[in-house]
Subunit: 252 residues, 2 copies
Amino acid sequence: MTGSRGAGITLTDGVTVTVEPADERTVQLNGGEIQMAPVERVMDTFGIDARVVAESALPLGAGFGVSGAITLGTALATNNVFPLNRSENELIELAHIAEVEAGTGLGDVVAQARGGVPIRVEPGGPSHGTLDGVPETGRIEWVSFGDLSTTSILSGDTRLLSEAGESALASLRERPTLPRLFELGGTFAREANLLVPSVTTVINEVEREGGTAMMAMLGETVVALNTGLSDIGVDDVSTCQVHSGGASMKNA
Amino acid sequence: MTGSRGAGITLTDGVTVTVEPADERTVQLNGGEIQMAPVERVMDTFGIDARVVAESALPLGAGFGVSGAITLGTALATNNVFPLNRSENELIELAHIAEVEAGTGLGDVVAQARGGVPIRVEPGGPSHGTLDGVPETGRIEWVSFGDLSTTSILSGDTRLLSEAGESALASLRERPTLPRLFELGGTFAREANLLVPSVTTVINEVEREGGTAMMAMLGETVVALNTGLSDIGVDDVSTCQVHSGGASMKNA
């Protein structure tokens, strides 16, 4: 398995990763030490030890692809610090493979590397995958109630997921717009039995008010277009934008 | 001919394009009406008439690919306004073909659509081209003394250009870093006989001070890393950054 087809939105709320040479490997997220298998794999591939410090505006395990983002950020930053003289595609490929092998995701890394509203037309990293995109931007609101395990769902029966996904993807490619992505995302989540009650309740309420919302897959998280969540008075709504670019280096 | 191999830098100094339905086709750049063949071709393909208003922080004809950027911006914005339901790749492909057929460029559009420091590994739009990138960012300074005609150079003897280009590209892919791109860009400009005296004088002065600079191809323009131009006291230096993303829609 080399990845997955699919579509999603990349957000300006994201992850910043800093890498420093160190005698011992450590990964920190928002100040706390964590274990992260795909990050370990990236460092194994490079054959280096480093201290990885990640800051995230998004919760881990809530369907935002935070583990993929830390993995990709580690690959990019490590290449810059050591320096390993890899190209951007090589780094994306390496992070993508680490993510797939660790079972934490099948397409987050390639989507995040591209930015915008990526459509993963053919699965895989830059060496054999194909990406397209929805040429639109917009304001995004999100709220998260907790985490779901991607690994347990990806390792279960994924037949329903695949069928519903192929159908939604074909429809999106016929009319690649942002409202259509949300609409098809809703159909997909329902048909693939991914919905959880807390999420369904909020999505229904947003739609009753004329808004557009869907589940972040896979997390107990609702993502809405424009002011969909604040319009219904949800507490702790976060606001951001569609990210116009992909993962990138920051100036020191 | 479907495009060109090559490498370059995309800048945060760029072009903003607004499209409005109109009875008559017009293209405006920084307040003045202009004729722009590739923009005409994009509108021909869509079969629509519109008023295109472009604002550019960069001069036209000075090697920055402004005409490619207006063309790509027109394709993206027109799709959004009318709306034509094209995907991002379809719009990039269409703008790329318009640029190539109009003879105004061979790779600007695909590079600008990607952003960052694009390496055009295989020529062409998204349907058959291949892109990679230099995973680095940095401060960029530029100064422009005037324009050179891309069309006249691309329609002349391009054998030298091709040979020098293939060799530089192979070297860059072995070690894809930003200082290396500037170094190889300098070698390429020299070997392909693209240098003009005003540009050579400034580049030599920057290098004597330990800085890194190259010619914007094709324009009477010098682009430097970090503070290369201000360090030697050049007048009217503009400062920007490597653009982290590619061309994108702005919120209304």
